[in-house]
Every structure is written in C-alpha cells, then in structure tokens.
Symmetry: C2
Subunit: 292 residues, 2 copies
Amino acid sequence: MFKQLGLIGCGLMGGSFALALKKAGLVEHVVGYSRSPASSAAAQRLGAIDKVADSALQTLAGSDIVVLAVPVSATESSLQEISPLVRKGLLLMDVGSTKSDVIAAARRALGDKLPSFVPAHPIAGKAAGGIEYAEADLYQGCKVILTPLPQTDPELLVKAHEVWSALGAQVVEMTPAHHDAAFAAVSHLPHLLAFAYFQAIAGQASGAEFLSLAGPGFRDFTRIAASEPTVWRDILLANKDEVLSQAGRFRLALAELEALLVSGDAPGIEERIRQISSARSQWQLADSRPPR
Amino acid sequence: MFKQLGLIGCGLMGGSFALALKKAGLVEHVVGYSRSPASSAAAQRLGAIDKVADSALQTLAGSDIVVLAVPVSATESSLQEISPLVRKGLLLMDVGSTKSDVIAAARRALGDKLPSFVPAHPIAGKAAGGIEYAEADLYQGCKVILTPLPQTDPELLVKAHEVWSALGAQVVEMTPAHHDAAFAAVSHLPHLLAFAYFQAIAGQASGAEFLSLAGPGFRDFTRIAASEPTVWRDILLANKDEVLSQAGRFRLALAELEALLVSGDAPGIEERIRQISSARSQWQLADSRPPR
C-alpha cells in the first residue's frame, strides 16, 4: 500500500503505528525522527523504524505516508518545519486527542498544502507512554476518529479509512467541533474532575490519613488523576471552551443531587441513583477486538 | 472462641463473616436470619449458616456473638427487635458503612444494653452483592474500623479486635465522627461525583453518541456510578453533613482548576497537575493480604 512511512515522534502511539503497518505488510520502509535521540534509537532497536532521520523534515524525503505523533503543543512547529516537502498525494495524519486546535495549526502551517492533511484521533493508549510500550496490536479493535475538512483531498481520505481499517480499527468520521465536544464530555472532563477531587482530599489536614483508608472504588475513580502533566495541560487548554461547557453541565447535576440530599428526599435520591446505576450498568466499552 | 454466631442478614458481608469464622475454627454453630427466605436458604446450602431462624430475635438464643449485616436503613428496627435478648457479655457488631447514624440508632434501640455493641465497618465488598458472592476470604487483608463508645464494654472491644484480626483483617480504632468524615472523603463523595458526572453526560442531547465513544478512563472513573441505589441512598443520607462538607472542598478545587483554564495559565496548570499526578502515583491501595 505504501512505499515509505515517515514517522515524526517515536513514542507509544507513533511506534505502535509503525509496528502495525509493518506487521500488516502495508509498508516497505520506515524512517523515523524523535526530538529525543534515545527514543528514535529505541524505535530502531525494536524494529518500529528502519532508519533514523536527522530532522522531522528529513522523514518526508521519499515518503508517501507521514504520521505526526508528537505532543499536541508541538504540532504547529512540526507542521511548519515539514511544510516545504508536503506534496500532492502525500497522506499526512496526526494522532492528537483534540482536533479544532490541531486544524487551526495546520491551516496556519500548511497553507495550500492543507488538502494532504487528514486529522485523526485513534482512541487507544496505555497507562504508561513511551516507545518501550509500543506494540503492533495497539490499534486492533479501537475506534479511530477522522475529522476531514472541506479542503481535504477525497482520495487521501479514502486512503486514511483504508489504512486504519487494515490495522483492525473501526473508523468513524465527524466534524472537528463535534469531536472536541464528545471528548470534552467523555475524556477531558473526567480528568479535570479526578484532578480536582484528588487535590481536594489530599490537601486537607487529615488528607494523608484519609487516603490510607481509601479502597478499590477510590483507586478506580482516581486512576486518571495520575496522568501525564504536560499531555493534560495541552489537552485541557486546547479544548478549554468545550471542557468548561461540560464542567458547567456537571456542576448543575451535582447541585441537583446535593439539593436532594439537603432536603432529605430519600425516594427522590433513590430514583435518581436507580436511573444512573441502570444506565451505567448497561454501558459497555466499545471494543470490536476479538477475545484474546 | 465462640459457641454460636447469630447472623442477622445473610448477604455478601454477613455470609462471608460466617464462612470466615467457621473456616478459622472460631465458632461451633451458626444460626442465621434474613428478611428474604431465599437468602437464608442459600446461606444454609452454602454452609455459611447451620440453621435458619424464624426471626432476628431468635438468632440471639444461645449466641455469644451476634452480627447485624442488614442495610443501614434497617439497623434501628433490627436492634429494637433483638434488644430484649441482648445480655451482658454478648458481643454485638454491625458492618455498616456509616457510624454516627448507626450509633444514634443503637442508643435509642438498646438503652442500657448499649455496652454490648461494638460498631464495626469492614472495608471490604465486591461489585455485586448477595449471598452467592460470599467467601471465607473476603476480610483477609482488609481494614476494619471499630468506633467504640465511652459505654462500650472494654472486654468486648478486645474480643472484637481479636476476632477481626483472626480473620486476617487489620483493625483500626477511631471515633465515629472521624470515621464518617474519612469515608465521606474517600468513598461517599466519589460516588456522589460519579453519579452526577454520568447523569450530566448521559442526559445531554448527544449523550448516547458521546457514551459510544468513551474509553477505558471513562469506564474506571464511572464504575461506582453503577452502585446499588438503596444502599447508596441510605449511606449518602446517613452521612449527608460530612458528604456535603467534602463536596464543598471539591467544588473549590474544581473552581481553581477552571480559573486556571479560563486564564490560559499553562505553567500553573502543568504545575498543579504535576503535584496531583505525582501524589496519586505514589498512593497505593492498603492491603496487607499476601499475594495469591
């Protein structure tokens, strides 16, 4: 399908993409670059990339697919650097968790090369990041959201569908704004709440003692509060309007529950919890991955 | 150690206590009562109890230890019913998740029999309740909080320490008020927040679609939103002052994070998340259970 993949950012997401593309027999050669030489060296050792490039721009020489897998805050500078070598027919994708800000950066950095860019967000990851956790099956069974623009080259959009599908992912298309609203709701807001909750508990006088008494419910509820600071700084800021809007909905729902508690309305509380508990029990993680 | 256990409430907690006491060889005979005849029959079939009693009161005849393992809202009526047969030297314990309300109920129901009562809260449980999930090892390695009163018989308090320790639990003593503050912080508030969050997301126009895009972080964060409605109605109402007070602390922490987002203060957000993420990464579930 492709002659050469240019990989910019050799971490968990990028490394796994390269391994998956190779495993599927969809690429002949992979050239990779990482800001950290240790990461690109490790990526080569692990067989994710065949050759280390000296710069992000260099990865484009001879490549017909380029994947940008860098922190969201490095997107614009990376796109600016590679823009001179982006040409018609080259499939350029990112893997970022926010889309409106990435697209704004792409508009500024790519100019009339914008049609090559197919914004992508694979819903995959692990608790720990880094090339050492990369694996060829990371995208098997996950969803990948594509948020094409009116300018996006229709042939490249089809190619993007094909490549992610070939890696075992389920491809969903939506507008960038809808994507950002959805992920503010189901991913970014829970992180903000988990951060706030952990801080509220740990920061009080008896905090350390309280934490020593916490059980499995607390463990699961706060797991995402251990997330990577720079990644979440970038995501929360990039999508702050939607996050704040969802936080407003949450505050209303919390205030309603608090009012039921204050009034001591036992049947009202039970009914409310019954609806929530029943809906949450029916919810299931979307995962088309075959059992393994 | 004991001649006969009287078990009132043959569910997960009570059934597991009976199985554990038998496995440890600490009791000769177990008499059990449940409001649901199906539960007591199942408890007998599973070997948790030897004989089914016709009433809560009947479980006290010949018993030197009685454990009340009923929903918190049924505590006072159960104590009232058994009060006539509570005698000096009988060890009477509950397993409730809140303590101040249980103790107020015990004061009213037991009168001068109050010294027999040692309020207990074992920090154990499973996602699903019911006698069919009971197991002899449920309390192995868990913490058990005892919240004795000035009136509590010191010999019975020692016995309570001994029996929970013999079942493999780590016993901690604290005042009822401190217990309720601690569990409002690390258990009851997270449930309230998970309920409010799930409702806020599911209740919006695109809720169903958003939920279909949610991933593993969402799954763990909302797991406790599927909790049992009557149990959590009772706990939240019984401990509402402490829960509302902890909710106030949480709202302040959330407002601070939102303000950092609004102002676009990237270094401030990163620093805040870094402290939280580092503290949460160092936290570990207290569990003295040997690996198995």
